[in-house]
């Protein structure tokens, strides 16, 4: 119902207008990543933390993030180096065959550890990473722990390409939900613009997206911040996030200044498929870090499911068994790689108009992203008082969790797992 619109959401939407404008500041402009990152980060798309020797220093840290209803949530997460708290943890990008080394400093008040689902032969301080038991045989951790103030070094060979995650292996029910997780991308030997060692998995490197779907029970976080215990039987997720943000913050650029600890946006920004000028699909790397299967539904295109958990979806003869899905189930601690594109199948335009009569302005209401005409690349004036963020007749399509209770957050509608796809008119266009 209309009454559920919310002041904070209104504020965010106004900020969003700025965000969409800022998206077009060229690389190297206002949107540079913090100093210790290799260079300016793209305003949209996957942001990689890279190192020529695949060696990373991370810290497990406490910090705060902000929800779109104005709430602030206490988190544990990973930072690059020693003091750079961010949520989720940095996206580590390595090449197939590299030996990955992660030095983890523990700046939390409790022991912690890291596990790497899908990797084999992981070493912790030089010995095989393994589940830990106390003297009575009781399981205490899924991997060797590091005490508060200490450090530990993990290493493994990135033996196969794909999308993976890393997360806490100690008291994971609490620690993973507190935010101790991040993405690991292994690039195939075939090349960084392929998802797997399969020429058919080539994607446009400008259109590579992280879609990490998670959730938060604010009462769990409050209890941990106060040093209290939390009974997981009372766990009830109230916020639902993409890449650590709630909508509409999901649309803000990577490293938006007003979200200092939540660096990763999830707006996708593409051009229509064209066999000559834009032949390659986009790649979305989905990762579930919550407690449920999220059925994720991007409007307006189907996704080829090309890999799950770092395994290409192939039959015994090497043939692709790619399902083409419009609602993609993303399970907990599951990764899904999806190729997609949008095609202009109808070629409607001013001179080839849509075959309906559009009622006059006073008989409709217009969305924030409506450009004033049905046509890609056209804009028209809207009635006085109508706000639009449309810049150059570009198209927008929503992409959201279809378990629609999970696109709300703790009593406020439309601040959950929602983002958008922006489709620009083919070049040359009038977009800023």
């Amino acid at each position: 119902m209309r009454l559920t619109n919310h002041l904070n959401q209104l504020r965010r939407v106004l900020v969003l207008g700025i965000a969409l404008v800022m998206m077009f500041i060229p690389m190297g402009g206002a949107l540079t990543a913090p100093d210790d990152h290799a260079g300016p980060a793209p305003s949209v798309g996957l942001v990689c933390e890279t190192d020529p020797n695949a060696t990373f220093t991370l810290s497990a840290l406490p910090g705060y993030i902000s929800m779109a209803d104005g709430n602030t949530i206490f988190m544990w997460s990973y930072g690059v180096g020693r003091d750079d708290f961010q949520f989720p943890g940095p996206v580590l990008c390595v090449n197939e065959g590299q030996t990955v080394t992660i030095v983890l400093h523990n700046d939390l008040p409790v022991p912690t550890s890291m596990v790497f689902p899908g990797q084999v032969g992981v070493m912790a301080n030089g010995v095989p990473s393994a589940a830990q038991f106390d003297g009575s045989g009781k399981l205490t951790s899924l991997a060797q722990t590091v005490a508060p103030g200490g450090s530990i070094t993990y290493s493994f060979v990135a033996s196969r390409p794909g999308t993976f995650l890393y997360q806490s292996g100690t008291n994971p029910g609490i620690q993973v939900q507190m935010g101790l997780h991040g993405a690991l991308v292994v690039r195939p030997a075939l090349g960084a613009n392929f998802a797997y060692n399969d020429p058919e998995t080539e994607f446009d490197p400008e259109d590579e997206y992280l879609m990490m779907l998670g959730e938060i029970d604010p009462l769990l976080h409050q209890a941990i911040e106060r040093g209290e215990t939390f009974d997981m039987r009372n766990y009830k997720a109230r916020y639902f996030l993409i890449n650590g943000r709630t909508f509409p913050d999901t649309l803000a650029p990577n490293y938006a200044s007003w979200l200092p600890t939540q660096p990763y946006g999830s707006l996708a920004h593409i051009y229509p498929y064209d066999p000559v000028t834009n032949p390659l699909p986009a790649l979305s790397r989905y990762i579930g870090v919550g407690t449920e299967i999220y059925p994720f539904h991007p409007h307006a295109f189907n996704s080829d499911i090309i890999g799950r958990d770092g395994f290409p979806v192939k039959g015994p003869g090497g043939e692709n068994l790619w399902e083409e899905k419009f609602s993609i189930p993303i399970g907990p601690v599951q990764t899904t790689d999806a190729l997609w594109s949008w095609r202009d199948t109808e070629n409607w335009s001013d001179t080839n108009p849509v075959p309906i009569d559009i009622p006059s302005d006073q008989n409709l209401t217009f969305g924030l992203f409506w450009g004033g005409t049905p046509y890609l690349g056209n804009t028209d004036t809207l009635p006085t008082g109508t706000t639009t963020f449309n810049q150059c007749g570009e198209f927008y399509h929503i992409a959201h969790n279809h378990a629609l209770q999970q696109i709300t957050g703790w009593g406020v509608v439309l601040i959950g797992q929602v983002t958008f796809t922006r489709i620009d008119p083919p070049l040359p266009n009038n977009c800023p």
């Binding site: 119902m1 209104l10 008082g385 209770q405 009593g411």
Partner: protein, 447 residues
């Protein structure tokens, strides 16, 4: 405004106060309300769409019947379901659509507060030019709300925003106004449609239904396993998706508190969502077995007022016209088009019968190089997903009953009632000669 709960939490207070304050401002930024209820006569103004639509849907509110009781916690003798404000024989407040194609303007306006669950079933042929008109009749129970409505064809590939129905990127229809949408579907298979305005609420309140696309191959005979078919799920080229009869099963759920809230000017916290009722085609078992409303030849027929005609002897099912009863003859093949528009993932099974899953999300599970259709005894699928499932019925000499039901036992009950309920229906296999050929999905015509 009424505050239902005895103690008002801080969050709820914020929700109420800021929500009301923001309402005026946000409506300026979010969507521009240009019509108020009462302006319905303007629908026929010169600016209304002019081309003749293939289907005309009206969006409004209404009431349906769900058995059993959901008490309001902390009260005695008060219930979310049945809602005390419900008309006689009905229990549960809904939003929904009606098929008003061919109605007079007067008949159409008379459908205000007569929505149906689930939404009208419609289908389109591959590459057919298809026009859908949506008219917003307003919400009879909530004159304070000026909600727009839209139709989102969920899964339509390469959609254009103008016809996608997502109100941020597109157009929405205020009360008393109409908008035409155009589709030229290129991909056969099963889809769904729903309103996308304030989608958590409008979808859950019942603005949900099924749409599917028939393949171009239909009408051409193909022989598969010794039987010749002319109706197919996909353009298979070999008859392997051929079927004799077809049934659509749309799964939804009802959180009684949220429906009561909407009727009583309250707001739920959607993250507390729970399913009190688990519906198939807008009904719960055993009502799923009741016949279609209206008739076996036209489940969308209406009376002189434009009202739906209840199934014989079941006046309370007047606004839930679609049966889920699946009947076939010995040795026939049936196609089940499954849609999940509930808020949970479900596992449907057919004990004693094998399912062959030939399509998911309106995509034939076969590529140029691989056939990955598969057989199973259960199918798990999340909200927003569809599946096309073919079942080879056994050879029988007497009528034999099988079940199609959710494997999650929590989904097989109706609240406050002993015995089975929820997501379940029957598959009845009859000896040859019992049934007439089927021309409309979800019908079981007799000779």
């Amino acid at each position: 405004m009424l505050i239902r709960r005895s103690k008002l939490t801080r969050r709820e207070f914020l929700k109420w106060s800021s929500g009301l304050m923001a309402g005026v401002l946000a409506s300026r930024v979010f969507r521009r309300p240009l019509a108020k209820s009462g302006e319905i006569a303007l629908a026929a103004s010169p600016s209304a769409p002019s081309a003749v639509p293939d289907i005309h849907l009206a969006a409004t509110d209404g009431w349906i019947y769900l058995p059993g009781q959901v008490p309001i916690p902390g009260t005695s003798g008060q219930y979310y379901n049945p809602d005390p404000w419900a008309p006689d024989g009905l229990t549960t407040y809904m939003f929904g659509f009606r098929n008003v194609t061919g109605m007079t303007t007067q008949q159409m306006f008379s459908q205000k507060m007569h929505s149906q669950a689930s939404a009208p079933l419609w289908w389109v042929n591959e590459l057919q030019d298809y026009r859908l008109r949506l008219s917003n009749l307003g919400l009879q129970m909530r004159p304070d709300l000026i909600d727009e409505h839209t139709v989102h064809w969920h899964g339509f590939r390469n959609a254009w925003p103008v016809f996608d129905g997502e109100p941020h990127s597109s157009l929405a229809v205020p009360i008393g106004r109409s908008l035409d949408l155009f589709y030229k579907p290129r991909d056969p298979g099963s889809y769904m449609y729903h309103c996308h305005f304030e989608e958590t609420e409008h979808v859950h309140m019942g603005m949900t239904g099924m749409v599917f696309v028939r393949p171009a191959q239909d009408g051409n005979p193909y022989t598969h396993n010794g039987r010749t078919f002319t109706k197919f799920a996909y353009n298979d080229g070999d008859g392997s998706t051929g079927y004799d009869r077809e049934f659509t099963i749309t799964l939804t759920d009802v959180w009684a508190e949220a429906h009561w809230d909407d009727a009583h000017v309250q707001l739920p916290d959607w993250t507390s969502f729970r399913a009190d009722y688990n519906l198939m085609n807008g009904r719960v078992y055993p009502d799923t077995l009741a016949p279609n409303g209206n008739s076996e030849t036209n489940p969308w027929a209406y009376d002189a007022n434009g009202y739906l005609i209840p199934p014989p002897g079941r006046p309370e099912l007047q606004w839930q016209p679609l049966s889920s009863l699946i009947e076939g003859e010995s040795g026939e093949r049936i196609l089940i088009r499954l849609v999940n528009l509930s808020f949970f993932t479900h596992t449907m099974s057919t004990p004693g019968l094998k399912m062959r899953v030939v399509g998911k999300d309106a995509t034939f599970l076969r590529s140029a190089t691989a056939d990955f259709t598969f057989e199973t005894s259960h199918y798990i699928f999340g909200t927003g997903e569809t599946a096309d499932i073919i079942i080879q019925l056994p050879t029988v000499s007497t009528t034999t009953k099988y079940l199609l039901h959710n494997r999650d036992l929590r989904r097989l009950k109706n609240p406050g009632i002993n015995g089975l309920g929820g997501h379940m229906t029957e598959i009845r296999v009859h000896p040859t000669g019992t049934l007439a050929p089927q021309t409309i999905p979800n019908t079981n015509p007799r000779p």
